[in-house]
Every structure is written in structure tokens, then in C-alpha cells.
């Protein structure tokens, strides 16, 4: 059997004496969509941020496409941020608060990574960026500045920016939870379309219904551990663990 695209093995993370992740293990196969759910403070964001080493794990392995992330091959030495850059470029990340760059136009926000990281010539980079903007239905906003866009539009630009990396894996950290309710739909629709294209996704979300519809598998985290994981529909409609049941019943209210 083909080995999974992403493997997380025995992942630990502490901030000082606070142990936030207490040994996380799971993997994501190519083309699979995995949703991570769980109460606030359970370590979902931390786990996601450890995948691309925005946080340095205290212990454990992250393996992307057979290659250990953040650690020099053949040694145990951690990579510097500069050394990590090519690995990070293989993973697109979408943040809760978008973090578009306000001094660049929408098109530049999407194309700058292509130009500066991937070394794509300027014209070609703009063309690819434009395609990505079309994908998130914002081709007409290419030359405006992000500050003039609604939250939903900003998040779609952020998604286009991640897509422009031509990533092996997309990481979403609660992409809709900073949005006004009426803007959530447009972002979820875009994510749904990407899912339909067969992209590999790891998605932290509070939108349980969305997780059930879009994900192949759901992981329920609490207190820094994976409490339960399973096929999306099954886990959400018929959770096995008591903690999962309590969490889901609170959310459904």
C-alpha cells in the first residue's frame, strides 16, 4: 500500500510547563480530506501549526510525502527557518484571520510567492495568480487592495494565495470562524470546490455539518490527544467516546 502523504507521529508540544499536545498520531492519504474538531484550547491550531513548523514540535515526527519535515536528513538537527522554506512551500496554509498583505494588491498577494519562492517569471506568475483568483471567483478584484474587500473575499484571496503554491497539502485553521455569518457560505463553497477537485486537505473547523459533508475522516481532539477518529458521517452521527458525544451535543444546540 502507498504510504500516506502526511504522517504525524507521537507529536508533542509544550509551552514552558504547559503540555498542549500529548502525543498525536494520525495520517492523511493523498486526496483525502481530514477534519479536526474539538473544544477550544484542545490544541487543534497548535497541531496544525506544527505540521508546517510554524511551531516547533517538542517531540515527534512530521512526515510529508516520505520526507521528514523540519529535521535535517541523516541527523537529528532541526532546520533553520531558511532551510525549512522549501518544505513549507509544499503546504498551503489558510489562517483564521486571513493575514493578507495590505500593501500589495490582491493579485500580488497571490503572485509574490510564485515569483520570489518558486522563481516563476513575473508574467507567468501573474497569469497563474489570475487563474487562482478565478478559481475563488475573485478575478474581478485582482487590482484592488485587500483592505477594501469583505472578510469572505479576503479569505478567498488567502485561499488563492495558498493554491498558487501548487501545494501537496492544504492546511486550514478555522477558515470561517472570523467571518460574519452571511459570509461563511461563500468560503465554504470554495473549499467544497477544492475538495471536489481531489485535493488533500487537513481542516480545523467548528462547522460540524461542513466537516460531516466534506471530510472523509474526522478527528476529535480534546486535551491535547486524539480522543476518537473515524469516517466523518459515522463519527459525527454516532460517536463512540463519551467526550465526543458531550462535545457534539453542546455544538448542536
Amino acid at each position: 500500500m502507498e504510504s500516506p502523504l502526511l504522517q504525524i507521529k507521537d507529536l508533542h508540544k509544550s509551552y514552558g510547563s504547559l503540555e498542549v499536545l500529548k502525543g498525536i498520531d494520525f495520517s492523511v492519504s493523498k486526496g483525502e480530506k481530514v477534519a479536526v474538531i474539538g473544544p477550544s484550547g484542545s490544541g487543534k491550531s497548535t497541531c496544525l501549526r506544527c505540521v508546517n513548523f510554524l511551531e516547533k514540535p517538542s517531540r515527534g515526527h512530521i512526515i510529508l510525502d516520505g520526507e521528514r519535515v523540519g529535521v535535517k536528513p541523516g541527523s537529528d538537527r532541526l532546520m533553520s527557518d531558511a532551510e525549512l522554506a522549501p518544505q513549507r512551500a509544499q503546504m498551503g496554509m489558510v489562517f483564521q484571520l486571513f493575514y493578507l498583505w495590505p500593501h500589495l494588491t490582491v493579485l500580488e498577494n497571490v503572485s509574490i510567492g510564485l515569483r520570489k519562492v518558486q522563481g516563476v517569471p513575473s508574467n507567468e506568475a501573474s497569469e497563474i495568480a489570475m487563474d487562482m483568483l478565478e478559481k475563488v471567483h475573485l478575478g474581478n478584484k485582482a487590482n484592488t487592495f485587500p483592505g477594501l474587500l469583505s472578510g469572505g473575499q479576503q479569505q478567498r484571496v488567502a485561499i488563492a494565495r495558498a493554491l498558487a503554491q501548487r501545494p501537496k497539502l492544504l492546511l486550514f485553521d478555522e477558515p470561517t470562524s472570523a467571518l460574519d455569518p452571511e459570509l461563511v457560505g461563500e468560503v465554504l463553497n470554495v473549499i467544497q470546490e477544492l475538495a471536489d477537485e481531489g485535493r488533500t486537505m487537513l481542516l480545523v473547523t467548528h462547522e460540524i455539518n461542513f466537516a460531516r459533508d466534506i471530510a472523509d475522516r474526522v478527528i476529535f481532539m480534546d486535551g491535547g490527544v486524539v480522543v476518537e477518529e473515524g469516517p466523518a458521517r459515522e463519527l459525527i452521527t454516532n460517536p463512540q467516546a463519551e467526550r465526543t458525544r458531550v462535545f457534539l451535543s453542546k455544538i448542536e444546540k
Partner: protein, 226 residues
């Protein structure tokens, strides 16, 4: 009052061209000093954010030391002191370097404030698309910081311009020195130094207006992005 102004009608054609020339020297001196201060300040602010403790230490020491030494002491040291160990510079060069060294420390603080005003998610997003820390700084953090801090940089420039008058004491023929020369020639120090003051003001005032407009524009443009 009338008599006071009549002096300018009488001597203006002799004074003003010389003052204007000297004002140009003052402005170029301030500009040269500012460039040096900018470079030093930028370097220090990069050091301050470095993961290497040694660089952070160097930056801290620099700021502490150069904030503690009066500009005049630095100027004297460079112009009168260094020749003692075989390093000679023209008065203008020594002044530009001295102003730069001294204001570099202030500029570092200006940069620091600007960099801290930028949400850390900005840099994270850059790192996440695969930029190196240097690229993230160059393409994401720095351009935003420069926008945020340009009003305070202009204000720093104005202070630097005014302090460049001290360079008269190491014989740079800028406005103050020209003023003193004129005062000994014409025995009209009150008129002459008032005029010198006006020249400084004429350079500084438009700049401070510009700083205020820029500040207002930046405030108005506070966008909803983080």
C-alpha cells in the same frame, strides 16, 4: 521694528545668497547623515530581532552607548580625535558619520516601533508560503514598517537637520557657521541670526507639514486587514 526690517532691505542681496548656499550645505549634510542613520538603524533593528543573542546584545549596547554620548562629543572625537590614530576625514564626512552614528540609535527605535506595530501573522503568512525569514522581512515586514514609520522618520530628519548646526563647531560651512561669519563681518548679529533661524524654518516647516499629512493619511487608511 521698521528699522529692523530695513536692515534686510539694505543687506539682503549680500546675505541671502550666502545663507542660501549654506542652507544647501546644511540640507545635504542632514541628508547624508540621515542616510547613514537609516542604514545603521535598519541594521540595528534587524539585530534586535535576530535569534542570535550576540547580535541582540550588540544592538542593545549600541543604542545604550550612542544615546548616552552627546552629539558634539562624537563629532569632536571623529574630527579632532581620530587623526591621532591616523584616521582623517573631511569636516563634512566626519559630520555625516557623526550624525549618522548618533541618530542611528534613534532610528533603530523608530524602526522597532514600526516593526512591532505589524501583526505577527503577517510574517507567519509569508513564512508559510515558503519565504525565508529574510524574504519575509524584505517583501512583507519592511515595506509595511516603512509606511508606518515614515512620519516619524521625517520628524527625526527635522531634528537631525537642526542638530547639524553643531557641525559648525568642526568647521563645516553650514548655516550656523555662515551666520557667525556674517555676524563678524557686519556686526548685526540679531538680524543675521534671525534670518538664519528663518532659513532653518523654511526647510523644516514643509517637512513637518508633510509628516502631518502622511500621518493623517495613514490613519485614515487603517484597513481592516491584519
Amino acid at each position: 521694528m521698521i528699522e529692523f526690517l530695513e536692515v534686510y532691505v539694505k543687506y539682503g542681496s549680500q546675505w541671502f545668497p550666502r545663507m542660501a548656499d549654506a542652507a544647501l550645505v546644511s540640507a545635504s549634510l542632514a541628508f547624508a547623515g540621515f542616510i547613514v542613520a537609516f542604514a545603521i538603524g535598519l541594521m540595528l533593528s534587524i539585530f534586535q530581532r535576530s535569534p542570535l543573542r550576540l547580535l541582540r546584545f550588540v544592538a542593545t549596547i549600541y543604542v545604550v552607548v550612542f544615546r548616552g554620548i552627546p552629539l558634539l562629543a562624537i563629532l569632536f572625537l571623529l574630527y579632532f580625535g581620530l587623526p591621532g590614530i591616523g584616521v582623517t576625514m573631511s569636516a563634512f564626512t566626519a559630520s555625516a558619520v557623526g550624525l549618522g552614528l548618533s541618530f542611528g540609535a534613534q532610528m533603530a527605535e523608530v524602526f522597532r516601533a514600526g516593526l512591532e506595530a505589524i501583526h505577527r501573522g503577517q510574517r507567519e503568512a509569508a513564512i508559510a508560503v515558503g519565504m525565508t525569514p529574510l524574504q519575509a522581512f524584505r517583501f512583507v515586514t519592511l515595506p509595511q514598517a516603512v509606511r508606518i514609520i515614515s512620519p516619524s522618520m521625517l520628524v527625526t530628519f527635522i531634528v537631525l537637520l537642526k542638530d547639524s548646526s553643531l557641525c559648525a563647531l568642526i568647521t563645516v560651512n553650514e548655516l550656523m557657521l555662515e551666520g557667525r561669519a556674517l555676524a563678524t563681518e557686519y556686526f548685526l548679529p540679531l538680524n543675521i541670526f534671525v534670518a538664519i533661524g528663518v532659513f532653518y524654518f523654511l526647510i523644516a516647516w514643509p517637512l513637518s507639514l508633510l509628516a502631518r499629512t502622511m500621518d493623517a493619511r495613514i490613519r485614515a487608511k487603517q484597513t481592516r486587514t491584519l
